[in-house]
Every structure is written in C-alpha cells, then in structure tokens.
Symmetry: C2
Subunit: 216 residues, 2 copies
C-alpha cells in the first residue's frame, strides 16, 4: 500500500518507519524541517521518501494524520483533495497548552475531522498508546499475547485496512465500533497519558483487553 | 474492616460477597427488596447481614456506593452522616436511559459526589470492569498476571484502603492519580461497556496495563 504520513513527529515518524519495514511505500511529510523528513526516509530502511503533504496525499491509499490538533486545518489544506481516501487519525483534540481536550463528551476529535473531510473515510486509531512503546511492541510482535489497540470508524472497508495496519506493527486490533466511540477512546488516551507520563513505570505503556471465563 | 454496601445490585452484591469471603464484615443495603438483601447476606458465606443504608453507614470504615446515578441523592440521604468515611464509588453519572454520561469533560461523577459529601473521602474505583467478570477474576487471583483496575482519589489513606480492596478481589490496583482523573476513567468505562456488551466476545472483560521495554 501507499501510505502518506501527514505529520512526521513522534507518532508519524515511528509508524511510517514500521510500515516501511513491513513493505509499504511511505511518504513522510509535515515535520519541522525538510532535513528531518529526509533523515526519516533514509533511516526507515524501506521504500520511503520525503515529500510535501500534497505529495503524500496524491497517490496514497491511506493517510496517517498525526499532527497537533492546532495544525489539522493547515495540513489538510496542504494535502489537497482527499476524496475517497482512508484517513487513520491519531490526532487528539488537545488545547494549545496540551492540558485537556477541546472537544469531548458530545463530540470527538475524530468526528470533527470527519466533518472537515466528508469525502474521506476516517478511522480513529493509534492515539491510545504512547509513541515510546511502538518499537518495543513491534519487536515483540511474535509473542503469543499481543497488546490491544482500539480503533473505531464508520466505513467497514477502511476499518479493515486500519486493523491490518495495526496488526503489522504488533498490536491486536480491537474494534470499538462506530466513529462516535472516539468520545470514549480520546479520554481513554488521557488516562493512558497519565499512567505513562505521571506514574513511576515509564512511558513504554500498552494495554490488553482480556476475557476471563471460568472453567467448568 | 466493616464495609457498608450502598446499592446491593450487580456490582454491590458481588463485591460485598467477595469481601465477606475475604474476611470483612459486610452490611448489604439498598436493593429492590429486603428479601434480596437477606439472600445476599446468607449466600455470602461470611460475616454479612442485611440492613438499611443508615445501618450500613453507621459503623463502617468504608462505604461502597454502587447505585444508579439517579439514586445517589436518595441513598446518601438514607445513609446519614458519612463524615470521615471512605466512600469507594463505582456509580457512573449515566442519564436515565443509560445511553450516556450526564457529567463529563469538565467534571465527573466522582467529583460531583465529592461535592455532595465534602466531609467524606471519595475514591473512584470498580466502575471500569463489568460485574460479570468479578467472580472469574477472583477465582483466578493466584495467577502470576492479574488484570488491572484503575482507581483515583485525593486522599492518600483512602486510596491505600481502596487499593487493598481491589487487590483482595483479584485485580492489580493501578493508581490513576487525583479524583479529577475520573473525567477520563468514566468515559473509559463506556468504552469497556461497548466492548463487553456490543462485541462478540461476551461481557467477562477485563484489561491489563503492561510495560513493554526492549531488552538490551
């Protein structure tokens, strides 16, 4: 698949790298500098290159949106026409000070995004794990039990694609239902952030949903 | 410890039963009928009895609040003075139709409860797992890896008590920080509810936070 990375920061840089290693064709775009994009592309050790958001979007099947909420409008404007494309978004609707959500309860960042790009298919995913854990999970992907990763969206085909991309980086995809479930997964991300960054155990945190059924 | 159960429904009935088996003294109160309370007390196979919310509260060290949000004011009124007591609450601020939270984002059910009983010490816990999983987790409590259970609150001593009560029923307590973190744990509960009741796997769902750190 051709995957365009819109926002090549902590999440976008790492996910793009892992997907390049999994055999996808990656265009990294929208970082602080052209140098950073080129370095990412070089170090991804796969079919990866640096480009503009427009170039990232042009022939992509999937776009990863991984920018700060304050940059969403700008990067979408630069990306141009995204009709028919699957947008996997991990952009949380955080305020400028990163202390809380600007959209919650009665809507979600994912739903607001879907309103901005009504012809694209938005799947919310990857927001619920810290970027610090991504490479660790990828390296342990052959273990019997994988950590979970919730995703939600309204388009079945795009959700299937997102689930595959989740699986390729080492997680067990967990379908949380329609896009409006992002009203719950986005606050869950802030719970994860609290445990990852305010607790004692370090940020390499993941989670796993498990069913406990008594034998007999 | 003496533990008063305010609301002996699915959660309160099961948690009270498990704590009675762990050796605590339990008063079950506030169910649909006196008969149900007596049956719970009889079947708990421990030091348990039926009582009114006032009796449950009177000599209790800890109160479990496990009523529908629409019943909180009523049960607190019946409980009487709760000054100095630890209230462990799993009551989510759900609307009458149980389709959504009436308090979220800028406050939480736990914080609203703390405002109602300013002299009590509120800890938010047990809301994040379905009642269906409780007995299964309790029975597998000697396994090496236990499921997590998040709790939050502002009083360190009460949080320590809550952590112990969480441990006794088979979970690994995870401190999520101050009471305002209930703004994130309460929506997380609705994510859990979606996975437990709308998914294919059945409601016996628990979760576990895990740290992934690469070796070497």
């Amino acid at each position: 698949m051709r995957i365009g990375i819109l926002g090549s920061g902590l999440m976008g840089g790492k996910l793009g790298t892992l997907w390049a290693r999994a055999g996808h064709e990656i265009v990294f775009s929208y970082a602080r500098s052209e140098q950073k994009l080129k370095k990412l592309a070089r170090e991804a050790q796969g079919n990866a290159r640096a480009g503009t958001p427009g170039e990232a979007a042009r022939e992509a099947h999937v776009l990863l949106l991984a920018v700060h909420w304050s940059r969403v409008d700008d990067v979408l404007k630069q990306a141009g026409d995204v009709s028919g494309k699957t947008i996997v978004s991990c952009s949380l609707p955080m305020n400028a000070g990163d202390s809380g959500l600007v959209v919650a309860h009665t809507s979600s960042g994912a739903e607001e995004l879907a309103k901005k790009v009504p012809k694209a298919r938005v799947v919310s995913a990857f927001g619920t794990v810290p970027s610090e854990v991504l490479f660790d999970v990828f390296e342990s992907r052959r273990k019997a039990t994988r950590p979970s990763l919730v995703y939600c969206g309204d388009d079945p085909k795009s959700k299937k694609t997102a689930a595959e991309l989740i699986r390729e980086v080492g997680f067990d995809p967990v379908d949380a239902g329609p896009l409006r479930m992002a009203r719950y997964t986005e606050p869950f991300t802030l719970l994860i952030a609290q445990l990852a960054y305010e607790g004692d155990g370090g940020p390499e945190l993941a989670y796993r949903f498990e069913r406990f059924v008594r034998k007999g």
